[in-house]
């Protein structure tokens, strides 16, 4: 792979994110929310991609790392004087510590990464269905504990008074950071080794790659990124334990699969495309003008459309919209001018 082509692989997704951000800066405040949400989705889906895309192992557990990031950043960012009212049972050290915006994001990422490493140590020995169910079990346990253990957070209540610092700028920077980290990883020797285990495990083992170690590394990194995204999310919307469980697991997996799970380009395209559709439907639930006509759909339509779309993409294009390949100008040019390709031959 030549250097210039590799640069496309990071520049194209980054450019798409920046384009979305620029578009988002031109719209009204109420529409901007959708853009911020889409950009945070990019961070989550890129985190998920870092493990699932490179390893080929399905994980239902990533939203637990996201949730840990939400809890870490959320609990530590609520102003100290408000904690006794909203979270009266907190451990003392959590109750007495309050950190700023950027440190809280760093702590969220660290917490997500540490939790993923801890969980991965035993779980990365598994593969196939056993791995899928075990990661699901982690999600179930995490949600169950966050929901009822009030010494570490608000329990069943919604986070309140978390400073809303995730604006369009921070969401964009966050998404770009996640993309750069994922790109750096997949270009590194570790990323390549893991991709080799995805394509052919026995052959990879034969050249001395430890499948366990490579998967564990990617799992921890992607937990780190997921925790970071969780931090961004809690600074954006007031959320509770229900918001970080099955629905979010489903929608993020849907984004990854619809875009194309095996490429960074696919992860970003999927996140933005599904977010765009979802936002459109969300506003259509309140009535939206399209070409002079007002369209109004019943509330709840979004998830019907998104899940039908996901099933459809899987049936018609199992490798996703991008075919699971990275962006390439050459291929785009060939696609646009098939004649030029003939002539070149």
């Amino acid at each position: 792979m030549s250097g210039s082509r590799a640069v496309q692989h990071v520049l194209a997704p980054a450019a798409l994110v920046v384009a979305a951000a620029l578009l988002g800066s031109t719209v009204s405040r109420s529409t901007e929310i959708y853009f911020i949400s889409a950009l945070v989705s990019v961070s989550v889906v890129v985190a998920l991609y870092t493990f699932v895309g490179n390893s080929g192992v399905l994980s239902f557990g990533h939203i637990s790392f996201f949730a840990v990031g939400v809890w870490a950043a959320g609990v530590l960012s609520v102003p100290a004087e408000e904690k006794p009212a909203t979270m009266p049972y907190l451990f003392d050290f959590l109750s007495s510590t309050t950190v700023g915006n950027v440190p809280s994001l760093a702590i969220a990422a660290a917490a997500g990464g540490a939790f993923a490493l801890l969980v991965g140590l035993p779980l990365m020995r598994l593969s196939g269905l056993a791995a899928g169910i075990a990661t699901f079990a982690v999600l179930g346990i995490t949600n169950n504990i966050l929901r009822y253990y009030e010494k570490i957070g608000p329990g069943l209540n919604t986070f309140s008074s978390v400073p809303e610092t995730t604006d369009l700028f921070q969401a964009t920077v966050g998404a770009l950071l996640a993309i750069v980290a994922a790109f750096a990883y997949q270009r590194s020797r570790f990323g390549r080794q893991l991709r080799a285990t995805r394509e052919d495990p026995p052959a990879a083992r034969a050249v001395g790659i430890s499948i366990y170690r490579q998967r564990l590394g990617a799992f921890a990194l992607s937990g780190f990124l997921a925790g970071f995204a969780g931090g961004l999310y809690v600074h954006f919307l007031p959320i509770n334990a229900d918001a970080v469980y099955l629905d979010l697991t489903f929608i993020t997996l849907a984004m990854l699969v619809i875009g194309g799970a095996t490429s960074l380009w696919g992860a970003v395209v999927g996140a933005l495309a599904v977010s765009a559709l979802d936002s459109f439907l969300a506003s259509a639930e309140n009535g939206v003008d399209v070409l002079g006509r007002t369209i109004e759909v019943p509330s709840g339509t979004r998830i019907v459309v998104v899940s039908a779309l996901m099933a459809l993409v899987l049936i018609l294009r199992p490798n996703g919209l991008t075919g699971g390949r990275e962006f390439s100008f050459e291929r785009l040019a060939r696609r646009l001018h098939p004649a030029a390709q003939e002539a070149a031959r």
């Binding site: 075990a134 079990a137 019907v304």
Partner: protein, 311 residues
């Protein structure tokens, strides 16, 4: 979660051995075993984990609620439930499972995940988050006293129904030619096809039987939980899926035992955990699942297969 292994331990064991808890746990295990058969049968033939199985049950439960809303006779309601679930199963097979038959297990699992959310969200759109109530069979939920133990009629019904269903299924699989075809397909689908087993027929029948079982489960679950919401049977399906993998998906028997075991264990935990800890029941259950998977990734009840295949 402190104090679990403290003074409470002896009470915990005592409660778990209590006859009442045992009876309820076996009843729960029986229902879960039926669901496990439904999931395991489709997996055996199609190598597909059907995450949307719970939504088949949910659809059947809504059919029962629909009938009870209109004061239909019980038999008609049950017939509607079977009709809806079977139609939905066949549609699912035709539209989703069949085109995906050549895809990897992960793609199929995510596709059924999508179908599950699709059906759930359609139900949400249609019936709202509060759902409906199915009351026509509630009489079965009343207890009968046998000695010190209060047995709800549904527990007996569940155990007997499960036994009958399993016996019929064993007869079908071992004594009929379609059963033979299904067993052949579950061992090696492509070789079975070469030998004249009709693929669409076999997968259709597997899905149909699994649909019949889903309808039976729908009837039994609505007796115990008459409030039918879009998330009806979702939690149960997740737990049964875990149980099926814990038992071992490669054989129907081990999958069934896994389903029964996880139902039984969650019944025991539910009955024996002190109230303060009972809200953490899912954590205990999933923790056990992870432990078992780490020790026996191929399943508790599978035979050791020796070296890794296809190296």
């Amino acid at each position: 979660m402190t104090g679990l292994l403290g003074s409470g331990t002896t009470d915990f064991v005592g409660d778990a051995l209590d006859l009442q808890v045992q009876v309820d746990a076996i009843g729960l295990g029986a229902v879960f075993a039926l669901m496990a058969v439904g999931i395991g049968l489709v997996f055996g033939v199609l190598r597909l984990v059907n995450f949307a199985y719970g939504q088949l049950i949910m659809a059947g439960a809504f059919a029962l609620a629909f009938a009870s809303d209109r004061d239909w006779p019980v038999g008609l309601g049950i017939a509607l439930c079977f009709g809806v679930v079977l139609a939905l199963s066949l549609a699912m097979e035709r539209v989703v499972f069949r085109p995906l038959r050549t895809q990897s297990g992960a793609v199929m699992l995510i596709a059924t995940f999508a179908v599950s959310f699709l059906l759930q969200s359609i139900a949400l759109l249609w019936f709202g988050p509060l759902g409906k109530t199915a009351t026509s069979l509630v009489a079965l939920n009343r207890p009968v006293s046998v000695g010190d133990v209060e047995i709800r009629k549904i527990t007996v019904v569940a155990i007997v129904t499960t036994a009958i269903c399993l016996a019929l299924l064993v007869l079908l699989l071992n004594r009929t030619s379609i059963g033979l075809h299904m067993r052949a397909a579950s061992m090696d689908f492509s070789t079975a096809r070469l030998l004249g087993v009709r693929a669409n027929m076999v997968s259709g029948v597997a899905v149909l039987i699994s649909g019949v079982l889903a309808a039976v489960v729908a009837v039994m679950l609505t007796v115990q939980y008459p409030t039918v919401t879009p998330t009806f049977a979702l939690q149960e399906t997740i737990i049964v899926l875990a149980g099926v993998v814990v038992g071992g998906m490669t054989r129907l028997l081990s999958a069934t035992l896994g389903g029964f075991l996880i139902g039984y264990v969650s019944g025991l935990l539910g009955g024996a955990l002190p109230t303060a800890q009972s809200q953490y029941l899912p954590s205990f259950l999933f923790g056990l699942v992870i432990l078992v998977l780490l020790v026996r990734p191929d399943g508790l009840f599978t035979r050791h297969r020796g070296l890794v295949e296809r190296v």
